[in-house]
């Protein structure tokens, strides 16, 4: 039986860590705040693994189907009968998987930051923000109520804001954290409206009840939701699409992806934790959580999910081929991989063999967390050594940073889909799911996976081969054990995790899904991946002129890809020229002149009237006597003649 207290401790321990380190951290000596944070997270990770073991192997499975368990729930705010914001813990395969992922990656980042952020003045603040983020993310995945997930959604957004803007004296960091917060907040507006629509039609905010009422074909709620329509689309589809918009904002899907590359202004371990492995998959998690509603009752919305994911994957892959900042290459790579997860959900159906996409998406989420965190932490080690983010400052580092080199290579092979690393298995399942349902998306995904291999190995070769290294002084070596240990652990994960029979644990309806291995099918993506790797090796292994020649021959495409297809400029144009001028300025004028003017007018009038009235008190006794007599005569007339 699930122990509610142990499961509740998993998010609450980081919360305690946040409060402790936030309030007292500055007074703690040395880097003990980091050690405390890491220890707290170690306990949380242990409890998460214990819970996962218990759920998957002990009590979770009843009659061959993994149950959705709610070990703890209490009503926080009740609006009316049935509609209430509860706070509860929801255990189902994806949430248990997510708590393992989140705590493990967060633990790796905590250990890594002990060395990477050493000497930082706001060391304790950094660890308190990390703890806040971990608490919010764990709360998000364990939520049993759609409003509770929204609360933690915003909490994650705030933590991201704080961490991106950690170096707040850099104007670029400040601009980046504002952009991230505003774009995701704008998407969250859609999420909120979607919540309201869904809860209005289903009459509840609780996930289990909501999914049940909106997916069973006989329910009145489903009929009314499907019948009511706005602009030709049913209300239910609107609600689900709006919820997806919220998820798309958080997961940096096209066209709400503009914040993710800029978010690389934060410290590299933060990028590893938030913008690679955990926060950006929150959107995917949300769609997966509401997957029955998507698949059964709003298939049109699911098509939208699939195409948005596919477009994001392809777009990001093309842009990543041109970027020179290694963190930005990794950011676009993240966007591309999340696009994979999204369209895998999009092509999936509910239940049985058709639910392969769901399982594949969740499997890819799991493996992606491993190798993407590894890639970011490795990039952090390189940046720490070279003190620059640009590829041109790197090269030939394979001799100087051996452990980083090997682990980075393992991660690149994993993401390129080379067997036997983890990425091969998860990507192959995604491609299989796409092949089985939608051939356009399959071809987009296939070509994108080739491009993925290309740009990842372009990155690898540019860092570790290409040039001879500059003499960097022998002041410091590769990095302390605190930076190397997470790299090694994550590399082991990236290598080994692929062999887990994921379908036995996570599937769209809870029943086990056999994952088959189609040798013929797998040859195509692996071949494309190897072509990508060898192309990158041919262009980047030694310093040569071929990349520049290719870039100049494709100059138009190259230039627009380098400028990220001018999407940022488009947004700036829309907001500055159109929104500000048409809505912002008139609203400001109205506020300043009409609203303020009215208030000022009231004040000024009162003052003018008072100026006139105060002359009555002139201090002259005779005038008072005159007023007195006139008043008496007036009253006498009143009483004698008018009020008889």
């Amino acid at each position: 039986m699930p122990n509610a207290i142990i499961i509740a401790l998993i998010p609450l321990l980081p919360l305690a860590g946040f409060l402790l380190l936030g309030l007292l951290g500055k007074r703690l000596p040395g880097n003990s705040s980091g050690v405390i944070g890491t220890l707290i997270l170690l306990i949380s990770t242990g409890l998460a693994i214990y819970t996962a073991y218990g759920y998957f192997f002990d009590y979770g499975k009843v009659d061959g189907i993994y149950q959705k368990l709610i070990p703890l729930q209490y009503t926080w705010l009740e609006f009316s009968k049935g509609v209430s914001i509860d706070m509860g813990i929801f255990l189902d395969p994806i949430s248990v998987m997510m708590i393992v992922v989140v705590t493990f990656v967060s633990l790796m980042v905590h250990i890594y930051s002990l060395s990477y952020m050493k000497g930082e003045k706001r060391f304790a603040t950094y660890y308190s923000f990390l703890a806040l983020f971990t608490f919010s993310m764990l709360g998000l995945v364990l939520s049993s109520n759609i409003f509770q997930i929204y609360i933690f959604w915003e909490g994650v957004g705030v933590s991201s804001f704080l961490l991106i803007g950690f170096y707040y004296d850099r104007p670029s960091a400040v601009a980046a954290c504002k952009k991230a917060f505003i774009v995701t907040r704008f998407a969250d507006l859609g999420f909120l409206i979607g919540i309201l629509i869904l809860s209005f039609y289903s009459g509840t905010l609780d996930f289990n009840t909501l999914i049940a009422t909106l997916t069973s074909p006989e329910s009145n709620q489903l009929k009314s939701a499907a019948a009511a329509s706005f602009l030709g689309v049913s209300a239910l589809t609107w609600g689900v699409v709006l919820v997806f918009i919220g998820g798309a904002g958080k997961s940096a899907m096209f066209p709400l992806h503009i914040w993710l590359p800029d978010a690389m202004e934060g410290p590299t371990p933060v990028s590893a934790l938030i913008h690679a492995a955990t926060m950006v998959v929150a959107g995917v998690f949300l769609v997966a959580r509401l997957f029955p509603v998507f698949a059964i009752s709003a298939p049109g919305a699911l098509h939208l999910v699939a195409y948005v994911g596919a477009i994001s994957a392809a777009l990001a892959a093309i842009i990543a081929c041109t970027q020179t900042d290694i963190k930005r290459v990794l950011a676009y790579s993240t966007m591309s991989q999340i696009g994979y997860m999204m369209f895998a959900l999009g092509v999936s159906k509910y239940g049985g063999e058709g639910g392969l996409g769901y399982t594949a998406s969740m499997f890819h989420l799991f493996t992606h967390a491993m190798f993407k965190a590894l890639l970011f932490l490795g990039a952090g080690a390189v940046i720490h050594y070279v003190h620059s983010n640009e590829m041109k400052d790197m090269g030939g580092l394979r001799k100087l940073l051996p452990i980083t080199h090997i682990t980075f290579l393992i991660a690149c092979l994993a993401i390129a889909g080379v067997p036997p690393f983890a990425g091969f298995f998860s990507k192959e399942e995604i491609l299989l799911a796409a092949y089985q349902s939608n051939s356009i998306i399959y071809w987009i995904a296939l070509i994108t996976s080739g491009i993925t291999a290309f740009y990842m190995f372009r990155l690898y070769f540019s860092i570790f081969w290409n040039k001879e290294p500059h003499p960097h002084g022998e002041t410091h070596g590769e990095g302390s054990w605190a930076m190397m240990l997470p790299l090694i652990l994550l590399a082991i994960g990236a290598a080994a995790v692929g062999f887990i029979p994921f379908g036995n644990f996570v599937s769209s309806d809870g029943a086990a899904l056999e994952s088959k291995f189609h040798l013929n099918f797998s040859i195509t993506p692996v071949a494309l991946g190897l072509i990508g790797i060898f192309t990158a090796m041919w262009l980047y292994r030694k310093q040569n002129d071929r990349p520049n020649k290719i870039a100049s021959s494709l100059s138009g495409l190259y230039k627009s890809a380098y400028h990220k297809f001018y999407i940022d400029e488009l947004y700036l144009f829309i907001t500055k020229k159109i929104l500000f001028n048409l809505i912002g300025r008139p609203a400001a004028w109205f506020d300043k002149n009409v609203v303020d003017g009215l208030v000022n007018f009231t004040g000024n009038t009162t003052q003018l009237v008072a100026e006139k009235i105060k002359t009555v008190q002139s201090g002259k006794v005779q005038q008072y006597a005159i007023y007195f007599l006139v008043g008496v005569i007036g009253l006498a007339l009143l009483f004698i003649y008018i009020l008889k």
Partner: protein, 173 residues
């Protein structure tokens, strides 16, 4: 109708009113005091004409012989005797005249509309003996209590005047 007492009455009334008007409108302060004096003498005359000799005597002794003298002393004390008084704004004068006239008209209207019934009792002219007996009697309808109160008022006024008009002693250094 046209007997001596009627004529004397109207002469006294004319004296009173004309002196009053002159008193409030003249620009020399000493003359105003003298006109006031004549007005008060006119009032005393009316009291005599009404057969209230005691009151008339009190009026002359207290008002004319006391208060007007006091006013004249104060005129000397504030060195106002010679100069002409300042003029008032014409607007104030007109407005006050109008207000006073309205008040007067209203009062006379009420007076003439009221039916005063004729008394049935016969007139009796009170002697000093009667007045004295009534003033100091402590039975009902006696005025001993107001008499005592007035004496306390006079005491308070006496002390008050001295205190208010006292010159401040210079502060001890």
């Amino acid at each position: 109708m046209m007997n001596g007492s009627t004529i004397i009455f109207y002469l006294l009334a004319a004296l009173t009113l004309v002196s009053g008007l002159l008193s409030v409108s003249t620009r020399q302060i000493f003359r105003a005091a003298i006109y006031l004096l004549f007005s008060l003498i006119g009032i005393a005359g009316i009291y005599f004409w009404l057969d209230y000799q005691f009151i008339a005597a009190v009026q002359i002794v207290v008002y004319v012989g006391g208060i007007v003298v006091l006013i004249i002393f104060s005129i000397f004390l504030t060195q106002q005797a010679g100069e002409k008084l300042a003029k008032q704004k014409i607007g104030r004068k007109i407005f006050s005249a109008l207000a006073a006239f309205c008040g007067f008209a209203l009062t006379m209207l009420q007076v003439y509309q009221h039916e005063f019934y004729e008394p049935s009792e016969t007139a009796v002219s009170p002697t000093v003996f009667d007045i004295g007996k009534k003033m100091l009697s402590v039975n009902d309808k006696g005025y001993a209590l107001p008499f005592e109160v007035i004496s306390m008022l006079l005491l308070a006024a006496l002390v008050g005047c001295i205190v208010i008009a006292l010159r401040n002693k210079p502060e001890p250094k």
